[in-house]
Amino acid sequence: QNYPLYIRSTPTENELKFHYMVHTSLDVVDEKISAMGKALVDQRELYLGLLYPTEDYKVYGYVTNSKVKFVMVVDSSNTALRDNEIRSMFRKLHNSYTDVMCNPFYNPGDRIQSRAFDNMVTSMMIQVC
Protein backbone atom coordinates (compact mmCIF):
# COMPACT_ATOMS: atom_id res chain seq x y z
CA GLN A 1 0.00 0.00 0.00
CA ASN A 2 1.20 3.46 -0.76
CA TYR A 3 0.63 5.51 2.31
CA PRO A 4 2.63 8.71 2.70
CA LEU A 5 5.50 8.86 5.14
CA TYR A 6 5.98 12.57 4.73
CA ILE A 7 4.17 15.31 2.89
CA ARG A 8 4.85 19.00 2.86
CA SER A 9 3.82 21.86 0.61
CA THR A 10 4.31 25.58 0.29
CA PRO A 11 2.38 27.86 0.03
CA THR A 12 -0.10 26.16 2.22
CA GLU A 13 -3.30 27.07 0.49
CA ASN A 14 -4.43 24.53 -2.11
CA GLU A 15 -2.71 21.91 -0.05
CA LEU A 16 -5.39 19.39 -0.83
CA LYS A 17 -4.80 19.84 -4.51
CA PHE A 18 -1.14 18.96 -4.08
CA HIS A 19 -2.02 15.92 -2.03
CA TYR A 20 -4.35 14.76 -4.74
CA MET A 21 -1.76 15.30 -7.45
CA VAL A 22 0.83 13.33 -5.55
CA HIS A 23 -1.62 10.51 -5.07
CA THR A 24 -2.53 10.26 -8.71
CA SER A 25 1.11 10.44 -9.78
CA LEU A 26 1.79 7.33 -7.72
CA ASP A 27 -0.06 5.34 -10.35
CA VAL A 28 2.30 6.58 -13.00
CA VAL A 29 5.25 5.72 -10.77
CA ASP A 30 4.00 2.17 -10.30
CA GLU A 31 3.55 1.80 -14.01
CA LYS A 32 7.10 2.92 -14.62
CA ILE A 33 8.47 0.55 -12.03
CA SER A 34 6.83 -2.44 -13.61
CA ALA A 35 7.99 -1.38 -17.04
CA MET A 36 11.52 -0.94 -15.75
CA GLY A 37 11.89 -4.61 -15.04
CA LYS A 38 12.29 -5.28 -18.73
CA ALA A 39 14.42 -2.41 -19.90
CA LEU A 40 17.96 -1.63 -18.81
CA VAL A 41 17.18 1.60 -17.04
CA ASP A 42 18.86 2.70 -13.85
CA GLN A 43 17.05 3.44 -10.66
CA ARG A 44 16.58 7.12 -11.01
CA GLU A 45 13.59 8.12 -13.01
CA LEU A 46 12.62 11.58 -13.99
CA TYR A 47 9.49 12.65 -15.72
CA LEU A 48 8.14 16.01 -16.78
CA GLY A 49 4.74 17.53 -17.19
CA LEU A 50 3.07 14.20 -17.14
CA LEU A 51 -0.02 15.17 -15.24
CA TYR A 52 -2.07 18.36 -15.53
CA PRO A 53 -0.08 20.01 -18.27
CA THR A 54 -2.63 22.79 -18.43
CA GLU A 55 -2.06 23.78 -14.86
CA ASP A 56 1.63 24.29 -15.36
CA TYR A 57 2.86 21.86 -12.80
CA LYS A 58 5.71 19.49 -13.34
CA VAL A 59 5.82 16.30 -11.35
CA TYR A 60 9.07 14.45 -10.76
CA GLY A 61 9.47 11.02 -9.31
CA TYR A 62 12.29 8.98 -7.80
CA VAL A 63 12.31 5.43 -6.51
CA THR A 64 14.85 3.84 -4.20
CA ASN A 65 15.90 0.21 -4.07
CA SER A 66 13.73 -0.21 -1.03
CA LYS A 67 10.65 0.79 -3.01
CA VAL A 68 10.27 4.13 -1.29
CA LYS A 69 8.92 6.73 -3.67
CA PHE A 70 9.68 10.42 -3.62
CA VAL A 71 7.36 12.73 -5.55
CA MET A 72 8.06 16.40 -6.14
CA VAL A 73 5.59 18.89 -7.62
CA VAL A 74 6.96 22.18 -8.89
CA ASP A 75 5.44 25.18 -10.51
CA SER A 76 6.23 25.41 -14.23
CA SER A 77 6.60 29.13 -14.08
CA ASN A 78 9.85 28.52 -12.28
CA THR A 79 11.79 27.55 -15.40
CA ALA A 80 15.16 27.99 -13.75
CA LEU A 81 15.08 24.48 -12.35
CA ARG A 82 17.28 22.21 -14.40
CA ASP A 83 17.54 18.48 -14.58
CA ASN A 84 20.64 18.15 -12.47
CA GLU A 85 19.22 20.43 -9.81
CA ILE A 86 16.24 18.13 -9.50
CA ARG A 87 18.56 15.17 -9.35
CA SER A 88 20.61 16.74 -6.59
CA MET A 89 17.45 17.53 -4.66
CA PHE A 90 16.36 13.93 -4.89
CA ARG A 91 19.79 12.80 -3.82
CA LYS A 92 19.60 15.00 -0.74
CA LEU A 93 16.15 13.65 0.03
CA HIS A 94 17.40 10.10 -0.31
CA ASN A 95 20.37 10.76 1.98
CA SER A 96 18.15 12.34 4.62
CA TYR A 97 15.72 9.47 4.37
CA THR A 98 18.55 7.00 4.89
CA ASP A 99 19.60 8.90 7.98
CA VAL A 100 16.07 8.75 9.32
CA MET A 101 15.96 5.02 8.66
CA CYS A 102 19.20 4.44 10.54
CA ASN A 103 17.90 6.25 13.58
CA PRO A 104 17.22 3.50 16.13
CA PHE A 105 14.29 5.44 17.56
CA TYR A 106 12.50 5.40 14.25
CA ASN A 107 10.16 2.52 13.44
CA PRO A 108 10.12 1.84 9.74
CA GLY A 109 6.65 2.57 8.42
CA ASP A 110 5.84 5.41 10.77
CA ARG A 111 5.36 8.98 9.63
CA ILE A 112 8.64 10.85 9.58
CA GLN A 113 8.91 13.29 12.44
CA SER A 114 12.60 14.02 12.42
CA ARG A 115 13.46 17.67 12.72
CA ALA A 116 16.62 17.26 10.68
CA PHE A 117 14.54 15.95 7.82
CA ASP A 118 12.09 18.84 8.18
CA ASN A 119 14.92 21.37 8.15
CA MET A 120 16.44 19.87 5.07
CA VAL A 121 13.14 19.95 3.22
CA THR A 122 12.51 23.55 4.33
CA SER A 123 15.88 24.69 3.11
CA MET A 124 15.29 23.00 -0.24
CA MET A 125 11.90 24.60 -0.66
CA ILE A 126 13.24 28.03 0.22
CA GLN A 127 15.94 27.59 -2.35
CA VAL A 128 13.42 26.83 -5.06
CA CYS A 129 10.67 29.31 -4.34
Binding site: M36, G37, V41, D42, Q43, V63, T64, N65, S66, K67, H94, N95, Y97, T98, M101, C102, P104, N107, P108
Partner: protein
Protein backbone atom coordinates in the same frame (compact mmCIF):
# COMPACT_ATOMS: atom_id res chain seq x y z
CA UNK B 1 41.39 -0.97 11.12
CA UNK B 2 39.93 -1.79 14.47
CA UNK B 3 36.32 -1.59 13.35
CA UNK B 4 35.76 -5.28 12.72
CA UNK B 5 37.17 -6.29 16.05
CA UNK B 6 34.97 -3.79 17.87
CA UNK B 7 31.87 -5.29 16.36
CA UNK B 8 33.01 -8.82 17.19
CA UNK B 9 33.53 -7.92 20.83
CA UNK B 10 30.20 -6.15 20.99
CA UNK B 11 28.48 -9.12 19.44
CA UNK B 12 30.11 -11.55 21.86
CA UNK B 13 29.02 -9.46 24.81
CA UNK B 14 25.48 -9.15 23.42
CA UNK B 15 25.22 -12.90 23.16
CA UNK B 16 26.67 -13.49 26.60
CA UNK B 17 24.34 -10.98 28.16
CA UNK B 18 21.22 -12.21 26.45
CA UNK B 19 22.11 -15.82 26.96
CA UNK B 20 22.64 -15.54 30.72
CA UNK B 21 20.68 -18.46 32.08
CA UNK B 22 17.47 -17.38 33.67
CA UNK B 23 16.69 -19.77 36.53
CA UNK B 24 12.92 -19.65 36.34
CA UNK B 25 12.36 -19.19 32.66
CA UNK B 26 13.16 -22.68 31.41
CA UNK B 27 13.08 -23.17 27.69
CA UNK B 28 10.85 -20.14 27.20
CA UNK B 29 13.69 -17.89 28.34
CA UNK B 30 16.07 -19.29 25.77
CA UNK B 31 13.63 -18.71 22.97
CA UNK B 32 13.08 -15.15 24.06
CA UNK B 33 16.76 -14.26 24.04
CA UNK B 34 17.23 -15.76 20.62
CA UNK B 35 14.32 -13.76 19.28
CA UNK B 36 15.71 -10.61 20.90
CA UNK B 37 19.02 -11.18 19.13
CA UNK B 38 17.21 -11.79 15.90
CA UNK B 39 15.13 -8.67 16.37
CA UNK B 40 18.30 -6.65 16.85
CA UNK B 41 19.74 -8.09 13.67
CA UNK B 42 16.52 -7.40 11.84
CA UNK B 43 16.45 -3.70 12.66
CA UNK B 44 20.13 -3.32 11.77
CA UNK B 45 19.50 -5.17 8.54
CA UNK B 46 16.69 -2.78 7.66
CA UNK B 47 18.92 0.23 8.15
CA UNK B 48 21.80 -1.34 6.20
CA UNK B 49 19.41 -2.34 3.44
CA UNK B 50 18.56 1.31 3.09
CA UNK B 51 22.06 2.74 3.30
CA UNK B 52 24.21 0.31 1.35
CA UNK B 53 22.48 0.04 -2.04
CA UNK B 54 22.35 3.78 -2.45
CA UNK B 55 24.47 4.16 -5.55
CA UNK B 56 23.76 0.79 -7.11
CA UNK B 57 21.26 0.22 -9.84
CA UNK B 58 17.84 -1.10 -9.18
CA UNK B 59 17.57 -4.78 -8.37
CA UNK B 60 15.65 -6.31 -11.15
CA UNK B 61 15.09 -9.68 -9.57
CA UNK B 62 15.63 -11.69 -6.42
CA UNK B 63 18.97 -13.00 -7.53
CA UNK B 64 20.33 -9.45 -7.72
CA UNK B 65 19.21 -8.83 -4.17
CA UNK B 66 20.85 -12.05 -2.98
CA UNK B 67 24.06 -11.16 -4.77
CA UNK B 68 23.97 -7.81 -3.06
CA UNK B 69 23.68 -9.63 0.29
CA UNK B 70 26.60 -11.90 -0.50
CA UNK B 71 28.90 -9.20 -1.75
CA UNK B 72 28.06 -5.75 -0.45
CA UNK B 73 26.40 -6.57 2.84
CA UNK B 74 28.94 -9.20 3.82
CA UNK B 75 31.83 -6.95 2.81
CA UNK B 76 30.44 -4.09 4.87
CA UNK B 77 29.83 -6.23 7.93
CA UNK B 78 32.66 -8.76 7.85
CA UNK B 79 35.14 -7.43 5.31
CA UNK B 80 34.86 -10.48 3.10
CA UNK B 81 32.51 -11.93 0.55
CA UNK B 82 30.28 -14.90 1.01
CA UNK B 83 32.02 -18.01 -0.24
CA UNK B 84 29.18 -19.66 -2.02
CA UNK B 85 25.66 -19.03 -3.18
CA UNK B 86 23.47 -21.80 -4.51
CA UNK B 87 19.87 -21.65 -5.57
CA UNK B 88 17.15 -23.86 -6.86
CA UNK B 89 15.67 -20.91 -8.77
CA UNK B 90 12.42 -21.34 -6.95
CA UNK B 91 12.99 -19.03 -4.05
CA UNK B 92 15.43 -21.07 -1.96
CA UNK B 93 19.03 -19.91 -1.63
CA UNK B 94 21.87 -21.40 0.33
CA UNK B 95 24.63 -19.03 1.36
CA UNK B 96 27.80 -20.76 2.38
CA UNK B 97 30.52 -19.08 4.39
CA UNK B 98 33.62 -21.17 4.96
CA UNK B 99 35.12 -18.99 7.59
CA UNK B 100 32.50 -16.93 9.33
CA UNK B 101 34.26 -14.20 11.34
CA UNK B 102 31.97 -14.44 14.33
CA UNK B 103 32.69 -18.15 14.65
CA UNK B 104 36.37 -18.16 13.83
CA UNK B 105 37.36 -17.49 17.41
CA UNK B 106 35.66 -20.65 18.58
CA UNK B 107 38.17 -23.12 17.26
CA UNK B 108 37.76 -25.20 14.16
CA UNK B 109 36.41 -28.66 13.79
CA UNK B 110 33.46 -30.21 15.47
CA UNK B 111 34.50 -30.03 19.10
CA UNK B 112 31.96 -27.46 20.16
CA UNK B 113 29.05 -28.67 18.13
CA UNK B 114 27.77 -31.59 20.22
CA UNK B 115 24.43 -31.66 18.50
CA UNK B 116 23.62 -29.82 15.29
CA UNK B 117 21.01 -27.39 16.46
CA UNK B 118 19.22 -25.20 14.04
CA UNK B 119 17.89 -21.70 14.36
CA UNK B 120 15.11 -20.29 12.30
CA UNK B 121 13.33 -17.01 12.19
CA UNK B 122 10.35 -15.79 10.30
CA UNK B 123 8.91 -12.41 9.61
CA UNK B 124 5.17 -12.05 9.98
CA UNK B 125 2.88 -9.17 9.03
CA UNK B 126 4.24 -6.71 11.58
CA UNK B 127 7.90 -7.37 11.20
CA UNK B 128 9.18 -5.23 14.02
CA UNK B 129 9.65 -8.27 16.25
CA UNK B 130 10.20 -11.41 14.29
CA UNK B 131 9.28 -14.45 16.29
CA UNK B 132 11.35 -17.54 16.61
CA UNK B 133 9.99 -20.94 15.75
CA UNK B 134 11.19 -24.45 15.71
CA UNK B 135 14.10 -24.52 18.10
CA UNK B 136 15.55 -27.91 18.71
CA UNK B 137 18.70 -29.07 20.31
CA UNK B 138 18.60 -32.75 20.55
CA UNK B 139 18.98 -33.74 24.18
CA UNK B 140 18.25 -30.21 25.33
CA UNK B 141 21.28 -29.83 27.56
CA UNK B 142 24.07 -29.49 25.05
CA UNK B 143 25.57 -26.13 24.33
CA UNK B 144 23.89 -24.43 21.40
CA UNK B 145 26.78 -22.01 21.18
CA UNK B 146 27.15 -21.78 17.42
CA UNK B 147 23.45 -21.16 16.85
CA UNK B 148 23.30 -18.39 19.36
CA UNK B 149 26.10 -16.66 17.58
CA UNK B 150 24.22 -16.90 14.30
CA UNK B 151 20.90 -15.51 15.48
CA UNK B 152 21.89 -11.89 15.02
CA UNK B 153 23.15 -12.56 11.52
CA UNK B 154 19.98 -14.40 10.55
CA UNK B 155 18.00 -11.38 11.63
CA UNK B 156 20.38 -9.17 9.67
CA UNK B 157 19.75 -11.07 6.44
CA UNK B 158 16.02 -11.08 7.09
CA UNK B 159 15.92 -7.34 7.75
CA UNK B 160 17.97 -6.42 4.71
CA UNK B 161 15.76 -8.55 2.49
CA UNK B 162 12.69 -6.99 4.02
CA UNK B 163 13.86 -3.49 3.14
CA UNK B 164 14.50 -4.66 -0.39
CA UNK B 165 10.93 -5.87 -0.53
CA UNK B 166 11.16 -9.62 0.09
CA UNK B 167 9.61 -11.53 2.94
CA UNK B 168 11.94 -14.32 3.87
CA UNK B 169 12.68 -17.14 6.22
CA UNK B 170 16.33 -17.46 7.23
CA UNK B 171 17.76 -20.58 8.79
CA UNK B 172 21.35 -21.14 9.83
CA UNK B 173 23.29 -24.27 10.49
CA UNK B 174 26.84 -25.18 11.35
CA UNK B 175 28.46 -28.27 9.92
CA UNK B 176 31.98 -27.75 11.18
CA UNK B 177 33.33 -24.62 12.78
CA UNK B 178 33.99 -22.05 11.44
CA UNK B 179 32.05 -22.82 8.29
CA UNK B 180 28.36 -22.13 8.36
CA UNK B 181 25.45 -22.08 6.05
CA UNK B 182 22.45 -19.77 5.82
CA UNK B 183 19.39 -20.93 4.04
CA UNK B 184 17.09 -18.22 2.76
CA UNK B 185 13.62 -19.03 1.55
CA UNK B 186 11.78 -16.15 -0.07
CA UNK B 187 8.08 -16.23 0.72
CA UNK B 188 5.76 -15.54 -2.14
CA UNK B 189 2.87 -13.46 -0.87
Amino acid sequence: MADAVLFEFLHTEMVTELWAPDPDAGSGGKKKSLSVLEGLGFRVGQALGERLPRETLAFREELDALKFLCKDLWAAMFQKHMDGLRTNHQGTYVLQDNSFPLLVTMGSGSQYLEEAPKVSGMVQDMPICPTLLGLSWGSGLASPLPTVFLAFTCGLLCGALHTLGFQSLVTASVAALPACRFQVVIQKS
